[in-house]
């Protein structure tokens, strides 16, 4: 079963525009991570935000986390055609000691040149 739900499922924008993707999850977490997956390639880690952080930046990426709403958002500014990919949020469980990540179904982003 998958914990996260990304919204929207698909997003199509023009190059230069900003893209916002949202993720909701169900259980308490230690950290939330965002990954990117290009067609036919493996997952690439983008950014990790801890449960006690509210916002984090990395280059053109901005991630927010609202633990009270169990939600996170990923903002990609000034998008490029190379940003076309599927984006997944992944959470870890706060309890149980499990090391696993639980992924959402992903948002498929298309950036048109």
């Amino acid at each position: 079963s998958q914990q996260g739900e990304e919204d929207p499922q698909a997003l199509s924008i023009q190059e230069g525009e900003n893209a916002t993707m949202n993720c909701s999850y169900k259980t308490s977490i230690n950290n939330l991570q965002w990954y990117r997956q290009n067609s036919g390639r493996g997952l690439v880690h983008l950014i990790l935000i801890r449960s006690n952080e509210r916002e984090k930046h990395s280059g053109r990426l901005r991630v927010t986390l609202d633990t009270s709403k169990k939600s996170s958002s990923l903002l990609i500014t000034a998008s490029r055609a190379a940003d076309t990919a599927s984006y997944f949020c992944a959470t870890d469980a706060e309890q149980g000691g499990s090391e696993k990540l639980v992924f959402g179904k992903g948002t498929k982003l298309t950036v048109n040149p």
Partner: protein, 115 residues
Amino acid sequence: GAGVSQSPRYKVAKRGQDVALRCDPISGHVSLFWYQQALGQGPEFLTYFQNEAQLDKSGLPSDRFFAERPEGSVSTLKIQRTQQEDSAVYLCASSLFRGVRYEQYFGPGTRLTVT
């Protein structure tokens, strides 16, 4: 610096055949994970190793699935008597340290098609 490698990249198996999927993690990485990704879905956790110890196998869908990492480096995921529902991409990931607060590095995956 080599990343996580997986072989084969593609595997076609007839229903009922056994398959073995290999993962070479980044050298020195303690943690190793296997995930299964169905078409259009996010990856789903299968199992986790810390060095050679399999600490979590709660995601293995049935006793036909077996994973090992005997020397704490290379890992093999074996699927016995494959079924059509086993068709998916199998992703391996490794992490330098124990704990999910550390980034997991993923391999390109093995796409398994069971006919």
